[in-house]
């Protein structure tokens, strides 16, 4: 079969073509109807996606709402009533406390500092070369459930962030070591210049956001505000991160604002890699 034969055969093959029943008017009407239906379906889809996105992001928005107050000097806060912590029993289980000692945990803590906390701090804008020594120690505090064992690790580190000299305080409490549940914690912190809010996270844990913003202190004339996040974890441990400006010396007013936002602090405090050894 030559190519010409094929051409001829194809032309002949359509000889018994049935009559074309194509009505342009009805076709156009149907096309218009289908287009409208398609648009309506798309609108419903977009609306559904927006609702899902809104529901998913609402907790984060509520938490980050406070971060809009970036300039600590302009913050005027008032005491707020404690958050509702209904259905959030604390401690969440009867797991026994562990008697952590610094000697035992030192290698683990050094490893956590090098691989987790310091990189996380750098991601929040800290100049790597400026980050000082993190010297954590276990010490009893008013926030421990009892003083029979010191399972709450405190430490702080100085660094230079985008806004100037800064200080990060870290609190890492072991399982069943941390005493006050979120509402009590807020009640303890209740003060004319303090806000304290607890927010339940989707994973069932609780985040407590505290901000203290006072006028310039009378002692040195510096502004002394801080912002902190305490993550009450489901396993009964607590990790807190506190950000404040660092004063270089008694006369230089180095940094006016609180360096880290609530979002940045939440990032640090909810990092599951930051925890005491189990």
């Amino acid at each position: 079969m030559s190519e010409q034969d094929l051409r001829d055969s194809m032309q002949q093959a359509v000889w018994d073509e049935p009559p074309l029943d194509f009505d342009p008017d009805s076709f156009m009407a149907r096309a218009e109807q289908l287009t409208k239906r398609r648009r309506a379906l798309m609108s419903v889809g977009v609306a559904t996606a927006l609702i899902i996105a809104a529901v998913a992001t609402l907790p984060a928005v509520l938490t980050s709402g406070r971060t809009r107050v970036e300039s600590a000097t302009s913050v005027s806060t008032t005491a707020t009533p404690g958050p509702s912590t209904a259905n959030f029993p604390w401690p969440p289980n009867d797991e026994p406390r562990r008697n952590h000692t610094y000697e035992q945990d030192q290698p683990y803590l050094e490893n956590m500092w090098v691989n987790v906390i310091s990189p996380a701090l750098q991601r929040q804008g800290a100049d790597p070369s400026s980050i000082g020594v993190w010297s954590p120690t276990y010490q009893g505090t008013g926030y421990e459930r009892d003083n029979s064992a010191a399972d709450v690790l405190y430490g702080s580190v100085s660094y230079v962030g985008p806004g100037g000299p800064a200080q990060l305080g870290t609190t890492i409490a072991g399982v069943s070591a941390w005493g006050p549940p979120p509402d009590e914690f807020c009640a303890i912190r209740q003060d004319a210049n303090t806000t304290c809010n607890a927010t339940r996270r989707s994973d069932g844990s609780m985040v407590v956001a505290v901000e203290f913003a006072a006028d310039k202190t009378t002692s040195n004339g510096f502004y002394s505000g801080y912002r902190s996040i305490y993550h009450y974890r489901k396993d009964g441990s607590v990790v807190g991160m506190e950000s404040r400006a660092n004063f270089v010396n008694s006369t230089v007013y180095a940094n006016t604002g609180i360096p880290l936002t609530f979002d940045q602090l939440v990032d640090l405090a909810t990092n599951e890699m930051i925890a005491l050894p189990r």
């Binding site: 079969m1 190519e3 094929l6 051409r7 001829d8 055969s9 194809m10 032309q11 002949q12 093959a13 359509v14 000889w15 018994d16 073509e17 049935p18 074309l20 194509f22 342009p24 076709f27 156009m28 149907r30 096309a31 218009e32 289908l34 287009t35 398609r38």
Partner: protein, 181 residues
């Protein structure tokens, strides 16, 4: 579609509906399916008409849509499983020229029994090249492939079609022999 664009599309649809259906028939070998393919393709073209007008070659774009619609249809499970039982036998027309009728019947067999055995993309190339008389470049544009691919698909398609025609003719001879004996 804006009201101002409607007359242009309407004119295109009226003038091209028949030729699109013929091409679709050569793709699928069935007038009913061809009608569906033509309608679906025009519907898709309606939704994309504002873009087509800018490109200024609506015919080629319509062929491309038709080809993709057909290939998509072929991938559907119920189409894959579908088995046609053939055409109803027609009654003889005593006024018709026997040679002409014989040629047409042969051509129809060619499409419905031989061309249908050629793999889909090769079949599409043969139809576009030998029925639509498109150049290799135009076929490549419609198929969305290179010109080299069009040439190789054409060569392979012709080989496959010739094999199918040979098989068809051998079957026909065998049947005639059976009838004579």
């Amino acid at each position: 579609m804006r009201k101002a664009e409607e007359p242009g599309f309407r004119e295109f649809a009226v003038t091209h509906a028949a030729s699109l259906r013929r091409t679709a028939y050569l793709f699928c070998g069935d007038w009913h399916t061809a009608e569906d393919l033509m309608q679906q393709s025009l519907m898709k073209l309606y939704q994309a008409w504002h873009r087509v007008q800018q490109q200024d070659h609506a015919g080629a774009y319509a062929r491309k849509i038709l080809l993709r619609t057909w290939l998509d249809e072929k991938r559907r499970p119920w189409r894959r499983a579908e088995q046609r039982d053939g055409e109803l036998p027609e009654t003889a027309d005593s006024n018709a020229d026997p040679d002409l009728v014989s040629g047409r019947l042969w051509a129809r067999d060619l499409i419905q029994k031989a061309l249908i055995k050629v793999p889909p993309r090769q079949r599409a190339v043969l139809v576009l090249r030998y029925f639509e008389d498109l150049s290799v470049t135009d076929v490549a544009a419609v198929m969305g492939c290179t010109e080299g691919t069009v040439k190789s698909q054409t060569a392979r398609g012709l080989v496959a079609l010739r094999a199918a025609v040979d098989a068809l003719e051998n079957n026909g001879s065998a049947m005639e022999t059976e009838v004579a004996s």
